[in-house]
């Protein structure tokens, strides 16, 4: 069971209140008609499936009903941080790798 910090409510809540909504920071192509089938297919269907640090969207469905982002380790389930929509993560796989060496 995860204990998740909602950046909008400003406190930790039980995982039961949330839904995972997949990979974060995917932007829709600005010119969909100009995309090749492969570009559009990549946007539409293909997702990273990293072993380790992953940035994903979560939805506080039973709380404030806002989407937010989370940096989470898919191996240890450790949550590094949660941050609001439109913000950039302060913890990334690169920053963690840099810190260890």
């Amino acid at each position: 069971m995860l204990h998740i910090y909602c950046p909008y409510c400003g406190e930790n809540r039980d995982q039961d209140e949330f839904k995972a909504k997949g990979e974060a920071h995917i932007s829709r192509p600005l010119d969909p008609m100009g995309c090749t089938d492969q570009q559009w297919g990549d946007y539409m269907f293909f997702r990273k499936n990293p072993r380790g640090v992953h940035h994903e969207m979560w939805y506080h469905v039973a709380g404030c009903r806002k989407f937010f982002n989370m940096t989470r380790d898919t191996v240890t389930y450790r949550i590094y941080e949660t941050y609001k929509m439109g913000e950039q993560p302060s913890v990334t796989a690169e920053s963690l790798a840099g810190g260890q060496s």
Binding site: C9, G10, E11, R13, D14, A62, C64, R65, K66
Partner: protein, 226 residues
């Protein structure tokens, strides 16, 4: 965009707000209104003078419920709310503001629930639309939900059985309101006093809540209040 075009856009957006068809949803005096728990007959159960127990349940029925969405950076929104309702719009997360029978609960950074005396919601909705400029959404959901009040020395124990939210006084002081999971449904839970709580429940889940609360408070004894 030229100045003329800008002016047109502003005009259209403010005209769009006033064009909303606001419906008087409450039936006239000749029609009996039924709350979501009408079939239970709480008023009748409350007449039983032999009720004993540590948990008391009361339905605050047929109140006016309005859901407001808007940008809190819009000064006209804050001013309009203050002018019409006489209370400040609560901007801090999980807070609420109340005065008399009117209360506003924070539901999200851009969403609030306004509870007013039953019957006054139509006039208040019209007054708010008049007083607020800019892009807002105001929906009368009075028929869609009801308010249950749970009180008594064992009320907290019933909540602890029912919700994963930490309702210990240390994290849930008087006046705080949270939206959370309750049994297999969701409620907007507010601590209104040392031993009293209010829950805003969906109409279609109110019977489930009634059955759940009876079962959860059985060991403490449930007292129905009118």
């Amino acid at each position: 965009m030229s100045e003329v075009a800008k002016a047109q856009v502003v005009e259209e957006s403010s005209a769009a707000v006033s064009k909303v068809a606001v419906l008087q949803q409450r039936a006239g005096a000749g029609v009996q209104a039924e709350s979501p728990l009408h079939h239970v007959g709480l008023d009748h159960l409350a007449l039983n003078v032999h009720q004993r127990g540590g948990v008391a349940l009361r339905e605050k029925k047929l109140l006016g419920h309005l859901v407001l969405r808007g940008n809190s950076a819009n000064a006209s929104l804050l001013k309009g709310i203050k002018k019409v309702l006489g209370v400040e719009l609560p901007l801090a997360p999980l807070s609420c503001s109340a005065k008399g029978t009117t209360s506003i609960q924070w539901m999200g950074p851009d969403e609030w629930l306004i509870l007013v005396e039953g019957g006054s919601e139509y006039g208040i909705e019209l007054a708010l639309r008049e007083a607020i400029d800019g892009h807002i959404s105001l929906v009368n959901v009075s028929g869609g939900q009801t308010v249950l009040e749970l009180s008594g020395p064992d009320a907290r124990k019933v909540l602890q059985k029912s919700t994963p939210y930490d309702v210990h006084p240390g994290s849930f002081p008087v006046g705080k309101c949270v939206s959370t999971v309750f049994a297999k449904t969701q409620v907007l839970l507010q601590r209104t006093g040392e031993d009293s709580y209010e829950m805003v429940v969906r109409r279609s889940f109110s019977d489930y809540m009634w059955l759940w609360l009876q079962d959860a408070s059985a060991e403490y004894g449930l007292v129905i209040k009118a």
